[in-house]
């Protein structure tokens, strides 16, 4: 997408802003960035009021989930690195710590930024294969794995909750409403009682 925007700027002189629509922070930032770009006070005020309204709307439910999710751990493996930032941030809002994070196509610059952005101790992973991801997942005893749909059965076989974050999704994750959907799904997958039925030998200790 950035590639396309850059070309449009070069060829047609259309300016672009790099934003993320995932998570409350990034969604709000995206709206403000757009408002600030137009440098119109009225637009800015309307944006502020919209953001305030939306945050007030979604936060009570998110706070309820955080009570259950505080202290849980997640692993993230995405296609591009950019999505990972928003995910680390969104998980933080839910009280979930990111144990490891990585991507298939991230560059050194992305990883430097990620390292600075994440809590201390978070493992940064680059272009890992499935067996490496399994090892990280088991060693860090995560409660949730976020990845593409092909990682789903892997997480499930290990007795780990899962949320897919790719183009195939049917329930949107973008915007404030998307953050609610994300929170509901993460809460459902982590809090489901089905994990209690899985033999502790298959699971990582300490997840009961």
């Amino acid at each position: 997408m950035v590639h396309l925007a850059r070309h449009m700027q070069e060829k047609y002189g259309i300016p672009y802003i790099h934003v993320s629509y995932f998570g409350i922070q990034d969604m709000s930032r995206a709206l403000y960035d757009v408002a600030e770009f137009f440098a119109d006070n009225e637009v800015l005020e309307r944006t502020q009021s919209l953001v305030r309204q939306e945050i007030q709307r979604v936060m009570p439910e998110i706070n309820r989930y955080r009570q259950d999710l505080q202290g849980k751990k997640a692993g993230i493996y995405t296609g591009g690195a950019f999505k990972a930032f928003s995910l680390v941030d969104s998980l933080r809002l839910l009280g979930i710590q990111t144990a490891f994070v990585g991507s298939q196509t991230g560059g050194p610059e992305d990883y430097q930024r990620l390292e600075a952005f994440c809590d201390e101790g978070t493992i940064i992973v680059d272009d890992a294969n499935i067996m490496e991801l399994v090892r990280f997942a088991q060693e860090t005893r995560i409660d949730l794995f976020i990845g593409g749909v092909k990682e789903r059965p892997v997480a499930y076989k290990l007795g780990i909750g899962f949320c897919d974050h790719n183009h195939e999704r049917k329930i949107s994750l973008a915007g404030f409403e998307g953050m609610l959907n994300f929170s509901r799904e993460v809460h459902a997958t982590i809090m489901s009682p089905v994990w209690k039925l899985i033999d502790s030998r298959n699971r990582q200790a300490g997840r009961n």
Partner: protein, 450 residues
């Protein structure tokens, strides 16, 4: 009925069926036995109509056909004529006589009548078993249990201790009965399932029309119930007054294991672990594999069902087992409605579902008008129960997973399983798919990969 209400409200659309219906099912599941209703013809017609609608099989139920004069002068003459007619036509080895409201209301002295009949019948005449089943006392489920108890009380004999196990499963579908028999066989345990209507009420095509009373639990096996190693009885509500296992425990000291219906992983574990102890063998690999696949499917579907609200209705034992199963997969049984009255459902659920009772309403002795009223406020995602809940499902636009009896608006009631890991798998799949189907149908986009 709401105890706080000052206005008496009559039962509207009962969530149970007639007590003798259950008794008739039990007698149908005993080899060479004929069910016989003491009362008016409509009672047997109604019960036959429901059983035929559910099982889609021929169902013979004899009747003493009360008329006005029997109501005034008593039904002895009708009973006498009826029993002799049944003997002549069917040559049964046992006749199971269940009473109806009318016979009980006029105060028929059935034990005395049976005594008289027994004295005039030849030595090799049929055994007569009677059970008191007025429908103003209990439900079809109670009638079922009472009939099992009556049969055991009449037939069980003392004798040398055997290794066999008595199994009183309560009302389960024919495929579940077959699966239970299979489970016991795999453990190497000899089991007497009472009743066993897996053939009588679910048979193949016939070459010629038959009386079809031969199949079912053999009378000799019932006689040996008192010599068994143990009794397994599926009952969550612990009602000893209708427990045949209690009779055997009291009379012969046969150890009684009252277990919940084995639905869901944990309730199945309780059952399979008990069989492992009784047979002194490990749980066969076939069942541990079924268990593992069931859990794997729980995981695959966990997000589709998490937090989904269900309304359950039916006999208390089934409602109890289903509620515990649903909580195991992350659903909330917001309304647990028993059509019969045990008085222990709330307590049983509180004991087994600690911490979740705030979100669960438990009612007993309720009817469909009350269930629908409560369900409308609870906004459930799914209903689970028999076909009599269809009107509610339609009025509220909430999908119904059919389970129990009667199921007269679908084919395959005999195969809607729930027992064991294997039966649970089918029930679980049906529940998840019903939820998915409803979501998919009500979504404007019509996604396919879900």
């Amino acid at each position: 009925m709401n105890p706080q209400s000052t206005i008496a409200v009559s039962t509207r659309n009962p969530c149970r069926m007639c007590t003798p219906l259950g008794a008739a099912m039990v007698f149908s599941g005993i080899a060479d036995a004929v069910p016989f209703l003491h009362g008016s013809q409509g009672c047997s017609t109604y019960i036959r109509r429901y059983l035929i609608g559910h099982f889609r099989e021929p169902v013979d139920i004899a009747c003493s056909n009360f008329g006005e004069s029997s109501v005034i002068f008593g039904g002895w003459q009708n009973l006498h004529t009826g029993i002799h007619a049944v003997i002549e036509q069917y040559h049964p080895r046992l006749i199971g006589i269940a009473t109806t409201c009318l016979a009980e209301t006029i105060g028929e002295d059935i034990p005395q009548m049976i005594h008289r009949l027994e004295q005039e019948l030849p030595e090799d005449g049929p055994i007569l078993v009677s059970v008191s089943t007025p429908s103003y006392q209990g439900s079809h489920s109670d009638g079922f249990h009472r009939a099992v108890k009556a049969v055991v009380e009449k037939l069980a004999q003392p004798g040398p201790a055997g290794r066999h196990i008595n199994v009183f499963s309560g009302m389960i579908c024919p495929e579940d009965i077959r699966h239970l028999k299979d489970i016991f066989a795999e453990f190497g345990l000899q089991a007497t399932l009472l009743p066993d209507y897996s053939d009588a009420l679910d048979s193949g095509i016939w070459n010629r029309y038959e009386k079809n009373i031969e199949s079912g639990t053999p009378i000799e096996s019932i006689r040996r119930c008192g010599q068994a190693q143990a009794t397994i009885e599926f009952s969550a509500t612990g009602d000893f007054s209708t427990s045949a296992g209690e009779t055997l425990l009291r009379r012969f000291g046969t150890p009684l294991y009252m277990l919940p219906l084995p639905v869901g992983v944990r309730q199945c574990d309780t059952f399979f672990e008990r069989l492992s102890v009784l047979s002194a063998t490990e749980i066969p690999a076939r069942f541990t594999a079924q268990r593992s696949r069931l859990i794997d499917s729980y995981v695959d579907a966990h997000k589709y069902v998490f937090g989904k609200k269900a309304v359950l209705y039916g006999p208390a034992d089934w409602v109890a087992a289903l509620a515990i199963f649903l909580c195991e997969i992350g659903m909330v049984p917001v309304l647990c409605a028993a059509g019969d009255h045990k008085g222990t459902l709330q307590e049983h659920l509180r004991e087994h579902l600690p911490g979740t009772m705030d979100s669960i309403t438990v009612v007993e002795d309720t009817d469909f008008a009350s269930i629908e009223q409560m369900a409308a406020g609870l906004k459930p995602d799914i209903l689970i129960g028999d076909s009599n809940g269809y009107k509610m499902s339609r009025n509220l636009n909430i999908p119904l997973v059919r389970l129990g009896l009667p199921i007269h608006d679908r084919i395959g009631a005999s195969r809607m399983t729930a027992i064991g890991y294997q039966g649970t798998q089918q029930l679980f799949d049906r529940i998840v798919n019903t939820i998915l189907e409803h979501q998919q149908d009500n979504c404007s986009i019509g996604y396919t990969h879900l």
